[in-house]
């Protein structure tokens, strides 16, 4: 049996398959479907220091091979996470990573510092790429100066593994990836959703209450693979690949492009068991090809 273990900074993952933020709740929503001990990890729903009600309904529009969402980081806030949610998830047998978001640098810092106190959370994913909030989110991740400022400030207070989640809504994603590396991030994850829009032609109205939203699902995979490949060549820290993965072959594309691990998002909605199936499929591929460890194929494309 090939080894599936992989490392993100000091964080050792059982296998390279994680569930993406915002698509897996806090894990508990999937407890009837997934044996968490078969997963590399779970990234929680985006958490902010204060509670947020999110955007108005409608928040979702189906698109060809994908979907737009405009959830807008609805969550109960960091205190509620610490007091209500953390106790119920801390013993889940996989790595639980908290996705941290905010409107200001101070918000990010206070939220990260609060999560830092939680023993069973080995890492955070800094979301500087959410397209669905008016302030903060993607605004930080599409500009080198503001990205540097927020990552530097969080790095000062957060001692464990720091993953920075990048926005694809930029001309050159490698610039922000390098900034993250320079400011001390342990890894980058990409991509968050692509900014998109859908119109109901009968009503002559945008489908989403926010007009624009974030595109995810199978349709974004080629864009994501390309960005992961570019980024993996530009930085030395691990790259976590995200975007449209719905099979082990999709996941392998990202790993071959240079990803150390992958996350699965919207595909969980169609098959709640998909994350475990993808992890199993990667193992079978390695065995079939006589490869000892998944680490041996990271970035291993012949070109």
């Amino acid at each position: 049996m090939a080894k599936l273990e992989t490392d993100i900074g000091r964080l050792n993952l059982r296998n390279p398959v994680l569930a993406a933020s915002g698509t897996f709740g806090y894990g508990l929503e999937y407890s009837d479907f997934v044996d968490f001990s078969q997963l590399g990890g779970i990234i929680t729903k985006g958490t902010t220091i204060e509670p947020r009600q999110g955007n108005d309904y409608p928040r979702m529009a189906e698109t060809p091979s994908g979907m737009l969402n405009a959830v807008g980081l609805q969550n109960g806030g960091a205190e509620q996470f610490v007091s209500d949610i953390y106790p119920s998830i801390k013993d889940i047998d996989t790595s639980i990573i908290v996705n941290v978001c905010g409107s200001t640098v101070e918000d990010y810092v206070s939220c990260a510092a609060r999560i830092d106190t939680l023993e069973k959370i080995p890492a955070i994913e800094l979301n500087i790429s959410c397209p669905n909030v008016k302030q903060g989110g993607m605004a930080f991740g599409t500009n080198r100066e503001s990205a540097a400022e927020v990552i530097r400030a969080v790095r000062r207070v957060y001692r464990k593994t720091l993953i920075v989640k990048l926005s694809p809504n930029v001309t050159d994603i490698t610039l922000i990836a390098r900034t993250a590396e320079e400011e001390g991030a342990d890894a980058v994850s990409l991509i968050n959703t692509l900014l998109g829009m859908a119109i109901d032609v009968d009503a002559r109205r945008p489908v989403l209450s926010t007009i624009t939203g974030g595109l995810s699902g199978a349709c974004i995979k080629p864009v994501a693979v390309r960005m992961v490949w570019q980024t993996a060549r530009a930085v030395k820290i691990p790259v976590i690949g995200i975007g449209g993965i719905s099979s082990s072959r999709d996941a392998l594309e990202f790993i071959l492009a240079g990803a150390t691990a992958v996350q699965i998002g919207a595909a969980n909605f169609i098959d709640p068991e998909i994350s475990v199936k993808v992890a199993g499929g990667i193992g079978e591929y390695l065995d079939r090809n006589g490869i000892d460890s998944v680490k041996d194929i990271i970035g291993a494309i012949n070109s």
Binding site: Y30, G54, D56, Y57, R59, G66, Q74, F269, I270, P272
Partner: protein
């Protein structure tokens, strides 16, 4: 309540115009226990062989026969997804996640004193058959009030008539009372204690106005667009007194007093 994913065998399909009744059976060989299901709960149907359909489609549980390990769905063709589901042939399979959502609540008080009305518009009548069956098993005799565009749009009224009184309205006047469900005289002749409604949003809102005005307890089943159906994505939220809540978990059935924007 434990949720499952599995393939169901399509035992029989009956089509009438744009509506299809699908009888689904859970094979014994699966070794899977037949789930406990509540009226008002729904399933998420995976749509295979429809490239333009990415997500599953939420469909209410129309009826169940526990002994036969059967669940029935009543599907109106609204687009590609429901068309593909409706056209699945007997002998085929449908992959479902089930059972989902909260379901309707049962009346709490003394049986004789409760007058119950189940109001359905179009395919919104789907969950009311199962609800009517459960209410009857608990000793109630509910009234049904169903609305449709024309008499041809009613799927099979005999099933409702076997449970309680059935009142109809049609917009074109081809049967029952001409107009919308809220135009039916029974609403002004009887004093109901509990109204359940399911159907198009404007219909449910007018039933809710009727119930608010008379302080009648009323539950409605919402059809907010969903992605996951299992509480993970927060796409399906409805505004309530408790904030934005997930229609697929805290709903799809809501008491109208909880629906903030419905109160005026």
């Amino acid at each position: 309540m434990k949720r499952y994913i599995s393939d169901w065998n399509v035992l029989q399909t009956t089509r009438k115009r744009d509506v299809c009744l699908l009888r689904l059976g859970l094979g014994e060989e699966e070794g899977k226990a037949f789930p406990d299901v509540l009226p008002g709960q729904f399933v998420q149907v995976r749509v295979d062989n429809s490239p333009s359909t990415y997500l599953r489609r939420p469909i209410s549980i129309h009826y169940t026969i526990q002994e036969e390990r059967e669940i029935w769905l009543l599907v109106r063709i609204a687009g590609e997804g429901t068309k593909t589901i409706a056209e699945t042939k007997a002998g085929g399979k449908l992959n479902l996640i089930y059972p989902l959502g909260n379901g309707f609540s049962m009346p709490e008080n003394n049986v004789e004193q409760q007058k119950l009305l189940l109001v359905g518009g179009g395919v919104g009548a789907a969950p009311l058959l199962f609800l009517g069956k459960r209410l009857k098993e608990s000793g109630y005799v509910p009234d049904f009030l169903l609305g449709g565009y024309s008499m041809e749009n009613f799927f099979d009224n005999s099933q409702f008539e076997a449970i309680g009184r059935l009142f109809l309205t049609t917009e074109d006047g081809s049967g029952g009372t001409k107009g919308f469900v809220t135009d039916h005289p029974v609403l002004y002749e009887e004093k109901y204690d509990f109204i359940y409604a399911c159907g198009p949003l404007p219909m449910m809102k007018s039933v809710a106005r009727y119930a608010f005005a008379r302080h009648i307890r009323c539950e409605v089943s919402l059809e907010n667009t969903m992605a996951c159906g299992i509480g993970a994505c927060l796409c399906c939220v409805e505004k309530t007194g408790r904030g934005n809540v997930r229609t697929c978990i805290e709903g799809p059935v809501f008491n109208i007093v909880d629906l903030e924007s419905w109160q005026n």
